[in-house]
Every structure is written in C-alpha cells, then in structure tokens.
Symmetry: C2
Subunit: 444 residues, 2 copies
C-alpha cells in the first residue's frame, strides 16, 4: 500500500478565522458542547487521525478581547474526555503546558483519557506562549524561554516515567487467590531533579497505548531539539513548501543523534483551508470571513503573533512599526511578517487582515483538486507527513473539507477509506512503546 498521510482536525471554538463567529452560519457560542460533538463526528466519519485542541491557561486581556470569540473556551482535557464518549476511533490530542503544571497531574489525566478512550489520547506539550499565564500561577513574569525548555525536558521525563509505573501485565486479577496485581509489576519513580521531585508510582495502570502519543509545537532551536529527542508528532506553522522542506529535513536529521528512525516522528504542518466547487466559490467564501474582520481585531491578533506586542497605539493605515527583537519563539514569525509587510507595502490593518484566517499557517483557498494537489506536493516532497487542518468556521468548514477534499485524497490513494486500527498510534503508524523497566513478560 502507498504511504498514507495523516490528518488532524484542529478544533478552535467557532473556527480558525478570527471573524468566524460573526458569520451567519456559525454558532457563536464557543462553550456549546453540541458544536464540538458535531465537529468530532464529522471528522470521525471522514477518518481523520485525530482531533487537536490548543490551549492557554489565561484569558486574553488586551483591549480588543471583547471583539473576539477567544476569551472563554472549554478546558481541553475535560472537553476531549466528553468527546471520547461520543466517538469510537478518532484520536484525541489536547495541549497542556509544562510551564504552569505539575507532572503528576498531567501524566495522570492523559493516562486516564487514554483508558477512557481505549487508546486514543495524545499530549501536545507546549511551554506556553501567553505570558499572561504566569500571573495566574503566582509569578510576576513569564518563565524565560531557556528555562521553560529545561523545565519541559525534565517534566516530560517525569511524565514518561510515571506512564511506565506499571508493567503491562501487572494486573492478574486472580479472584481465587485474591492477588490483584503482581507486587513486582509496579515501581516507584523516585525522581529527584532540578525542577521536580516526584515519587510515584502513578495511580493509573499503564495505558492502552503504552503511553499517550507525545506531540510538540515548538519551533525554536530548543524546541526542535526537545522534539527530536522525545516527540512523536510535531505540529508546526510553515509559510511555504520550501520552508516546510527545510524544517522537515532539519528535524528528521536531528533524530539519528538520539538513535531514532525518521518514521518515529511525524511532522504535521497546519494548513488553513477554504474549499469551493470552483476557485471563485472558494474565494467568495473566504471573502465572507475577511470582510467581517474588524481591523482593530486583526491588528490585535497580529500583535500577539509578533510576540505579545500592543499595537493599538499605531495608526491602522500606517506601516508596521519597527519592533524590538522578541523571544526565540516568535522571532522567525516576526521576521516573516516584517518581510511580507515590506515587500507588499501593507498597512497595519492590511497585514492584520492577511493573518486573520491562517494565523501564520499556510493557506489554501480553492477547489478540492487544487488543495489535494498542494497537500500531495508537500507530502511527497518531504515537506510533511500529514497536516493539521484548520478551517475558517466550525463545525461546517470541517464538513466542506470532509465532503470535498477527503474523497479526493482517497481517490489518489493518499488517505484511508476506513480506520484500520483502534488507537491513535495505529492511525499514525507509530509503534507502541515497550516499558523499559519491565521485561517483555512484564516483569522487572
């Protein structure tokens, strides 16, 4: 069989387009579970590998927050747990930050979700981009970038160790003798590191996937290195095939140093998609969102993307002001947007509108054939192993993709027509990790 691509459905409240909620077809309540259930069921009917939910542990407080639909939303683990009960196959990837969490809680909740869902959980490890989160956890300022990654590394080690607390076959449940689990089927972790001291063991059995799938979304040098060492999926924003290819090659090249095969890490760029039966129809659809962008909201989003800058004091019809260099995390994006603004002589308002849909991700607006051509080119050109699909509005934008683009990918033999496995690992073609602390027979 031909190599298959992976698809994630990015679930962001009313949709990925900043003005989606203003569209008449869009349910404008980001806390309405039924919209999420609908979206999940659309994605599952189309055999997507996974649902993907971003996160932040702070509400945006900038002046324009009142004009966007991203101030309140479901907490990802509760949301995906609820969705696990109304789906059967699709993977469930939730974002959780290592900067303002405790590893025991994170390990436990994802392992619990993996059990609840029969092996469909994934953890998107981030180190937080919203500096505002610090203030909700007793800190004056965001943890600096390097320290965030040092903490993330240790955090991930602890979580993985906790996930390996129990042998796969520890639980004998022998009703006759009364032995529930083998005493040697469990081990304490006794981790004592720079950031954490965690005894363990975890109070959740080793999960159906062995470990939930580890996803990452950092793109800095530190982020790539952590991904090369530990991640199984990387979610990334790439503005062009050439850039995507460079990122892909760079990341896959790093794997050998950790003794890893390149198939053990799947790279899934985000792609913002508006599909129509003709190019004109797709563009007309896109315009329906674009024309609803309040320029101040677009500029607010731009400021966040450039690294949490407040641009509200600058004239909307003026140029992008010169900005001080920001943290590693946003630096490449800052460069890119500065170039774009310069090359095309865009005003602040125009630049804000430009990113209102894709938010820095590659954008495809056109027919199913056109979109499939591009996805295929990225996939076959070593720019991607799959894609996180971002649609302007939910749940209906996902239906457009499912009904038009997915069949085209299937016709080309690039995407499954039905699920072959039950777990997220099986969908992604990732191996179930053995537990290094116990032999194959599950004993130490």
């Amino acid at each position: 069989m031909r190599r298959q691509l992976s698809l994630g459905a990015f679930l962001m409240a009313t949709g990925h387009h900043v003005a989606a909620w203003r569209h008449p077809d869009v349910p404008a309540d980001p806390m309405d579970f039924s919209s999420y259930r609908r979206a999940a069921q659309i994605a599952e009917a189309a055999c997507f590998d996974a649902l993907f939910v971003a996160d932040s542990v702070a509400a945006p407080t900038d002046a324009l927050a009142s004009h966007s639909a991203r101030s309140t939303y479901f907490e990802p683990l509760t949301l995906l747990s609820a969705l696990s009960a109304v789906t059967e196959h699709i993977g469930l990837i939730a974002t959780a930050t290592t900067s303002y969490n405790e590893p025991y809680h994170v390990a436990r909740k994802f392992a619990s979700l993996d059990h609840l869902s029969g092996g469909r959980a994934g953890w998107n490890l981030v180190t937080s981009d919203a500096a505002a989160e610090a203030g909700n956890f007793g800190r004056q300022a965001h943890i600096p970038h390097a320290e965030r990654y040092a903490r993330a590394r240790e955090f991930q080690q602890v979580v993985q160790g906790l996930w390996d607390s129990w042998a796969d076959n520890a639980f004998v449940r022998d009703k006759a003798s009364g032995l529930f689990h083998r005493p040697d089927g469990v081990r304490a972790l006794n981790h004592a590191g720079e950031h954490f001291r965690v005894k363990g063991p975890l109070n959740v059995a080793r999960s159906p996937q062995g470990r939930p799938v580890l996803v990452q979304a950092g793109s800095s040098q530190a982020g790539r290195e952590l991904a090369a060492q530990t991640a199984e999926v990387v979610f990334t924003a790439q503005p062009s095939l050439v850039r995507a290819q460079a990122f892909y090659a760079d990341l896959k090249d790093r794997l050998a140093a950790y003794g890893r095969h390149e198939d053990s890490l799947k790279i899934m760029p985000g792609v913002f998609v508006v599909v129509g039966h003709s190019q004109a129809e797709a563009e007309e659809k896109f315009q329906q969102f674009q024309e609803r962008v309040d320029p101040r909201v677009g500029v607010g989003l731009l400021g966040r993307m450039l690294g949490n800058f407040d641009l509200s004091g600058y004239p909307l019809d003026g140029p992008l002001p010169e900005l001080p260099p920001t943290e590693d995390g946003q630096r490449s994006r800052q460069q890119l947007l500065t170039e774009l603004a310069g090359n095309e002589q865009l005003t602040l308002a125009q630049l804000g509108r430009r990113i209102a849909g894709g938010r820095g991700h590659y954008s495809l607006i056109g027919t199913a054939t056109h979109i499939a051509d591009e996805l295929q080119a990225w996939f076959e050109g070593r720019g991607a192993d799959g894609f996180n699909v971002l649609v302007p509005h939910l749940p209906l934008g996902l239906e457009d993709f499912a009904h038009q683009v997915v069949p085209e990918l299937q016709r080309r033999g690039l995407f499954r027509r039905q699920y072959q496995g039950r777990t997220l690992r099986q969908h992604l073609g990732l191996q179930r990790p053995t537990n290094p602390f116990f032999t194959e027979r599950g004993q130490p």
Copy 2:
C-alpha cells in the same frame, strides 16, 4: 409537596466493599469505562441527584496494595466529563484536593465540566487524607492539618472569585457590531494572599449553575467551620443516628454566624447498603463479600482508616494495638474503632473484616422496607438531608438499590419519580448564586 431527600451514588471502581472485585458477578477492572457508564445510567434512571467520585493523587504503596483493587483508577474530572456526554440529568461531583493543586486549574476544570454538562458539576473539596500525595508534589511530608485548612480556605476563595470572573450576561455576541462580550462584563481577580497570587480572569464563562456546587468532606473542627462558611453539601461518615443528629445540629448551628439559612447546606451521610427481598437474602448477599476478605487486606484498610498506620507487623488474631493519637482528621474514627474493638473483644482480623464493606459508614443490610425505614428515620429525625449511597459492588449493587429501595422511597413521597430540573442545584434545591461583582443586570 413533602420535603424530598437527596441521593448520591458513590462510584468507587469495583464497589465499596474491599473484596467486591473477587465476586464472580463483578467486572474486576477498575479502569473499564463501560462499567461506569452502566452505573451512571442506572443511577440516572433512578433519578439520583448525583454521581460522586472520591479521589487521591497517589497510589497506595502498603504491602497489601497488591491484594486490593484500589491502586489504579480513573482521574475524576476526566471520568465525569466522559460520563457527562452519556447522561442528561444526573449531577457530577468530583473530588479534588486543595493541598496539591493550583486554584486556577481547579476553577477552570470544574467550570468547564459545568458547561459541558449543562449545569451538573460539583466540586468535593478535600484537603487530602493520603500523606503519600506529598511525595508526588515535591514535598517530604504531608502538609500539617491546620495549614491544609488555611490553604483550603484561601484556595476556595480564589476558585469562587475566578468563577465570578464574568457577568452572567457578559456575552452579547453581536454579529453586526462585532462586539462579542461587553468590556465591563469581565473583571480580573488580582488575588494576593498568603498561599496564592492569582490574577485572573478565568478563561471560562460563568457557568450554567453560576458556580459548580461546593461539597465538602471534612469532619474536624476546622473542617466543619470551613463547611459552615462555604459548603453547600457535606458528605460525612456517621456510625449511628444519634451521632448523625449531633453532627447535623452542630453543623447547621454554625451557619447563622455566616448569615446563612440552614437550607443552604445539605448534609449527606454515607450509607452502605445491601438489599435483599428478605433479611436472610440480604445477609447471605453480604456474606458473599465478607467471606472473600483476605484478613491482611482488611487489616491494611483498617490501618489506613486509623490514620495511615502500618499494622502488618501485629498478629491477626491479637487485639488492636494501642496507637499514638493521630491527626485531628482521623481522631474521632480512631476513638470509635478502639471502642468497638474493646466492647466486642474483636481481634485485629475481625475488626478489619467489620469495616471491609462500610469503611466506617453506617451499614444497612436488609429488605427495602427496612432500609427505607432507616433512611426515613434519619431524614425526618434531622440526622440527614440525604444520603450518599455506597453499594458493595458495581454496577450491579446500584441496580439492587435502584430497583428495590428507590421505589419504596418514592411510594412514601420522599423521593422524586422524575427529574424536575436540569441542574444539580435544582435537584438539590440549592439557589443559583448571584455574582456579587456585577449587578443583577450583569453590569458592574
């Protein structure tokens, strides 16, 4: 209409009886979601007010843990989120400790569950009884009792403040003007206290119930005082009607000092129930569990209940050894069990078996009529406003209660025949709290 009693269904993996998992009728896997779904649906069909899930953030590590089914289990918030999607009316009460958590996470997850479930969430605030939890969160030892409660008080204040971040009518979602929420419909918390500094606002809208229902399960003086000040439901273990009446009177008497009416706090003792069509059948049923108790497991449980003592070195057929006084939290239980052992001249093994089912809660073993008589006596005798029903085995023990005892309570006019409301507050007869930071029209 006659005053109605409330019923909670206590969901503890394979059941409340320590040997339940060894019974041939019991699915012995505490991480099998389908058993929980079944139990939840039985409870909902019987119109229970709520499901109730206990918690600990550590696995038991005593020598006999291998012989009991309580080492691994679902994390409560993920479990109840999943159950929210397969139920419609029943309340969902999860335990979370204030000792090893951050208030922002707790506020957020419960608010999220309240939205997911359409207003059915409850938070059972505990300060942790398992000292082992400390080691999973970087501490050498359990936080001392008084400090736990000081922290709990501040934690609860922060959570409540975060739940009140948004005015009920903040979200105008005006597609035409682009105003999503009124700028004055949200407020930061800016809490700076002894244990926490939390800026807020919460990134979850004010929830359907205004605030999730606040439940508590502490019985010490400090626990009662915190409950009188803040709790809306108290879960308690009372060994007799007389004791229950004293506890009930004491707690209700404390309310006036906080300007509260006695109906604003519901007292729900746990009651362990084994029901049969005759007294003999009920006893025979109970014996099927009792005879499966490994004496060492019973004694292990006893040690935990007395305050985390390791009794494994003492002879099983000897008396209960003299124990040093323990923390406030377990002191009354220690006294009670010491008295019982002395009065009835019980050996260690016998005492362990005695508590194997009820685990210190009142036990009722008999016909539906007998059980209803007792529950009615407690309810009408001001010993209880309702009960947390603990059944020996799950899910089937709950079916016995639902099919035999519930109809008897309904015949007596003491319990609803169908749900009258949609939210947990409505089931319990608790008012929806207004938001003190915004006027009735939702504005500051």
